[in-house]
């Protein structure tokens, strides 16, 4: 039956619909390339969404926890093998995504008799300056794109993702303090959750740095951190204005 091309296309279409439906419950994750480094934020009920991958690399993802874990492990393994066999400088997102992760996701998506990987993710690579940072949006089917604006989010609804991204880019300037970035991020998150339109949304007068009943998880790929490892966790509510 699936040997027939149209049936295969049908099955793929159903699979895409199924994955999108399953991802609806996921909450968005964010990445911001700033002069201090790359800020990654995830908000939820205690389940981790932001992870260290390698010395200058991090991941923020939404989706099924088991699938996030599979992608995280695959990325960590590929990065460490490359770093050990060559050098830490040779671990780049472009190679990691193109040769290791994207192909894995695409294969998983198209093998219709095996369970799909239900993940929407952002990968970040810290450069010497914010202009050299790399942010990549990776989808469940292996499709991915490189974001050059320095602001990126992943959400299960592409239209809302686009609207929130545009609002954040419009309201954040390159040298805004981290407090403002964090506040804008949580404001956008809240608007996405409440299904509010971004056209009327404005930044709060008092910085919004925590959300009642939610766990705000943040990490910074810190540009100024001494040594090889640049990843450190961050408590947004302790950021100073």
């Amino acid at each position: 039956m699936t040997e027939e091309p149209y049936r295969w296309l049908d099955a793929i279409g159903n699979r895409r619909e199924y994955i999108r439906d399953q991802l609806k419950g996921g909450t968005p994750v964010f990445a911001f390339s700033r002069p201090e480094g790359i800020l990654l934020v995830g908000i939820g009920h205690g389940m981790s969404k932001v992870f260290e991958i390698y010395d200058r690399h991090a991941l923020a993802a939404l989706g099924h926890p088991v699938d996030i874990e599979k992608i995280r492990q695959a990325a960590i393994e590929a990065a460490h093998m490359e770093g050990f066999n060559r050098s830490a400088e040779d671990v780049t997102l472009r190679r990691l995504i193109s040769f290791a992760l994207s192909a894995t996701l695409k294969n998983s998506f198209e093998q219709i008799f095996s369970p799909p990987l239900m993940v929407e993710a952002i990968f970040a690579e810290l450069g010497p300056t914010s202009g050299e940072d790399v942010l990549v949006r990776v989808h469940y089917d292996g499709n991915h794109h490189y974001e050059t604006s320095g602001t990126l989010l992943a959400h299960s609804d592409p239209k809302k993702e686009e609207a929130a991204g545009a609002w954040l880019r419009q309201n954040l300037k390159p040298n805004d303090p981290m407090v403002k970035v964090a506040s804008a991020c949580l404001t956008a998150w809240q608007a996405l959750m409440d299904d509010k339109p971004f056209t009327d949304l404005s930044l709060p007068k008092e910085p919004l740095l925590q959300l009642d009943g939610k766990t705000v998880e943040a990490a910074l790929l810190d540009r100024k951190m001494a040594g090889a490892v640049h990843y450190r966790t961050l408590q947004l509510n302790k950021l100073k204005a």
């Binding site: 992870f51 492990q73 960590i76 460490h80 770093g83 066999n85 490892v229």
Partner: protein, 253 residues
């Protein structure tokens, strides 16, 4: 998934070195390294000299290697093998921490080095790959715990050093002085401030260099000092040449 980088490695091997033969090759050696407790933590130090037979191969060798934020390895023996062991451990510790979302325990780190030494048994027996390292680490899960010093024999047996440890051809005289000072010194090395311990470490290496041609590279008058690191609960601090010079000048005044 058990966070074991060494289990992952054979699945994706890089070009391996051809099997070595025990020919008339003169192995490169690195000496001398030592560690002792001071009031602020553990001082771990080494000279800069690498030799091949009676030839000075380099006077700029770094023998104190940071494995992660809270563990160090001082190498004595064949640098090619020792550097590779350090690199393997660096990746192993970070791989475990990142993949398992928790740091490796101090005991596991100590055993990891022991296992690498045991796996190097053929090289050790043939004489071209002997490594006798010192390991210093601290348990980060217990803020009250103090840094520990371990020394190893080339076959992988590990021993905790209560006060000090030394390795390499120049370590005999250093251990003798440290034993004397720990027993009758005022202050004892374990009671010394960082400044006092810095001066002591350099003096020990200069003493070792008097009796061992394979130890060298410490000449305060030429601003050449030991590689010196302090390990404490706060992590690793490298004592810079400038700081060592200042301590040396103050002690000499």
């Amino acid at each position: 998934m058990n966070g074991d980088f060494l289990a992952l490695l054979p699945k994706n091997p890089f070009a391996q070195l051809p099997a070595a033969s025990a020919s008339a090759h003169v192995p490169l050696q690195a000496t001398t390294v030592f560690a002792f407790h001071c009031a602020e933590g553990v001082i771990i130090a080494g000279d800069h000299r690498a030799t091949a037979g009676n030839t000075v191969f380099s006077d700029k060798t770094e023998k104190i290697l940071e494995l992660d934020s809270h563990s160090l390895m001082a190498i004595a023996g064949v640098p090619a093998t020792a550097f590779e062991m350090a690199r393997t451990l660096q990746t192993t510790f970070e791989f475990y921490r990142r993949s398992q979302l928790q740091g490796m325990s101090l005991q596991a780190k100590i055993r990891a080095l022991s296992k690498l030494l045991r796996d190097n048994l053929p090289g050790t027996l043939q004489g071209f790959g002997v490594v006798a390292p010192i390991f210093a680490g601290v348990d980060t899960t217990d803020r009250e715990s103090k840094p520990a010093i371990y020394f190893y024999d080339p076959l992988g047996a590990q021993f905790e050093a209560a006060e000090y440890a030394g390795s390499g051809s120049g370590s005999g005289s250093i251990k003798a002085v440290l034993h004397f000072l720990e027993k009758w010194g005022k202050p004892r090395p374990s009671e010394m401030s960082l400044a006092q311990a810095t001066v002591l470490a350099n003096r020990l290496l200069m003493t070792a260099a008097e009796f061992d041609t394979a130890t060298g590279g410490v000449h305060p008058e030429r601003q050449l000092f030991a590689t010196l690191k302090l390990l404490s609960q706060d992590g690793i601090r490298t004592i810079s040449i400038g700081d060592q010079d200042r301590c040396w000048q103050e002690a000499s005044a």
